[in-house]
Amino acid sequence: MTDILAAACIAILVVMAIALVRAFKAPTVYDRVLGVNMFGTKTVLFIAASGFLMGRPDFLDIAIVYALINFIGMVAVLRFFEYTSPIE
């Protein structure tokens, strides 16, 4: 089971890296936000999985905070788009 969890953690890391690349280099502003959002949700899953991998799963609180902050960041970005035109 540990091997599978480790493999899953590494795979989630790879997905995070891909989302990071999208956030680095995005064709439109919205794509960048999408990359950031995907990075955030995958991070939540990574924290949950790595907690079980390390044998101390009692730190899931941090995953909850991540999910929450990710959503708030998203809403803040949407609000920001109402102020400034995102397409130049």
Binding site: A11, T41, A49
Partner: protein, 110 residues
């Protein structure tokens, strides 16, 4: 490996597969609205599968409750965020592929 471990391994691998396909979709699809479609749908299914797999590893204590809470939270916020982002993009004037290429069949039909 007992039965629960096998089930949760399968769920984990399936979740990772969907997550991975979503990440690839983020690059391979032609315009923003198809890309957000790929990202948001796979985000949800990956979260369900991976957290479901981890749920089978707990022994019905506080961690189970926290995992369920994370799952519910992601189920509510992740599609909402995607929907709001797509809506904001539409209002901001972003066009679909069909609209940007008016010589295409779909574009001219519109």
């Amino acid at each position: 490996m007992d039965f629960l471990d096998i089930v949760s391994s399968i769920l984990l691998l399936a979740g990772v597969f969907f997550g991975f396909s979503g990440a690839v979709g983020l690059f391979r699809f032609p315009d923003f609205f198809t890309r957000i479609h790929a990202a948001s749908v796979t985000d949800s299914i990956a979260a369900i599968l991976i957290i479901g797999a981890l749920l089978l590893q707990t022994s019905f204590d506080l961690n189970t409750a926290k995992l369920v809470f994370i799952l519910l939270f992601l189920m509510v916020t992740s599609p909402t965020a995607s929907h709001a982002l797509a809506k904001s993009a539409r209002h901001g004037g972003l066009l679909t592929l069909a609209e940007t290429r008016p010589q295409d069949k779909q574009g001219s039909a519109k």
